[in-house]
Symmetry: C2
Subunit: 185 residues, 2 copies
């Protein structure tokens, strides 16, 4: 079978927001990483509020070679029961991550920049929504920008090209099934 390759008349970067409370936001961003790399694109992923809890994509992206950079930042979910770090420390981490995002964006070395859990970081006041809007305003025209996390800010949604809300219809953990590798992390 002959393969048909689409080529858009106009190449442009898209701003994609993945929000909502269901499973499939970070995972979807990782799918776009895989897809973009398939197109030969260079990708930078910055994960906000991630902490030290291992997740399979950290090793997965290594297999994609030096087309992909992944930066894990933060000290776990702010405000979640048992998280011992003060808000100021979470905010400092998130602010560093924003600086990193700006630097990566300005480097012009990437075709896709993923800011994982940034919506949540805004919601928790670790990042100001204006900082995200500034980032969007400074985005190079051909850079794809993917923003994930629940509770996406309305002003960010307003600026995005494509926005999906992922709702939970059901989730295994509600039946006390432990998180499973490969699916949940």
């Amino acid at each position: 079978m002959e393969i048909t390759k689409l080529t858009p008349k106009q190449r442009r970067g898209l701003v994609v927001v993945l929000t909502g409370y269901g499973k499939g936001k970070t995972t979807s961003a990782m799918g776009m990483v895989l897809r973009a790399v398939g197109h030969g694109m260079r990708v930078c992923v910055i994960q906000f509020m991630k902490g030290d809890l291992y997740t399979g994509e950290w090793d997965g992206v290594k297999l994609l070679g030096d087309q992909v950079e992944l930066h894990v930042t933060g000290k776990g979910f702010c405000g979640i029961q048992g998280n011992p770090f003060p808000h100021a420390e979470h905010r400092r981490n998130a602010q560093d991550a924003i600086d990193l995002a700006l630097a990566k964006m300005k480097s012009n070395r990437f075709d896709l920049l993923v800011l994982d859990e940034i919506n949540n970081a805004v919601h928790l006041r670790l990042v100001d929504s204006d900082q995200v809007l500034t980032l969007l305003a400074q985005r190079p025209e051909r850079l794809h920008l993917v923003l994930t996390g629940r509770d996406a800010h309305d002003d960010v949604v307003a600026q995005a090209d494509t926005v999906s809300r992922v709702d939970e219809i059901k989730h295994a953990y509600r039946r006390d099934i432990e998180p499973q590798p490969g699916i949940d992390y």
Copy 2:
């Protein structure tokens, strides 16, 4: 920073359904492929109704090495304007894909099996919902099974562990922005 690796007391396969009309179902499944491979798992992806239209994940998964098998089946979206193939031919293709899925499942060589667009194939009567239920019933206990596509069948949703519905809040194509590589395909 030291990394904490969760290990569930009980390892079990999950049935995950990704449905709805928004962007992020196939992409999310691809994210789970990347994550699973990071855990050293073996993955099989079978894409239904895919046709000949190139998408970046076809080359992306090649970079993940022989941990991942990807099978593209079908002749494009059945019932979509301009698709020249009769329903019977779409159905024959989808039935072959179901046979392939059963064979891959029974081979016990995989930790994750993705049946991409199968929900849609059921909705379009290329596959019977009973065939999917049979597949679920025969699933090895530790195999993760991910089923994507709009209009997931209620009986399949009832059998699943985790179900997300991805809704479109907005999509670039509604503003006549062409599909862009790395994001849309």
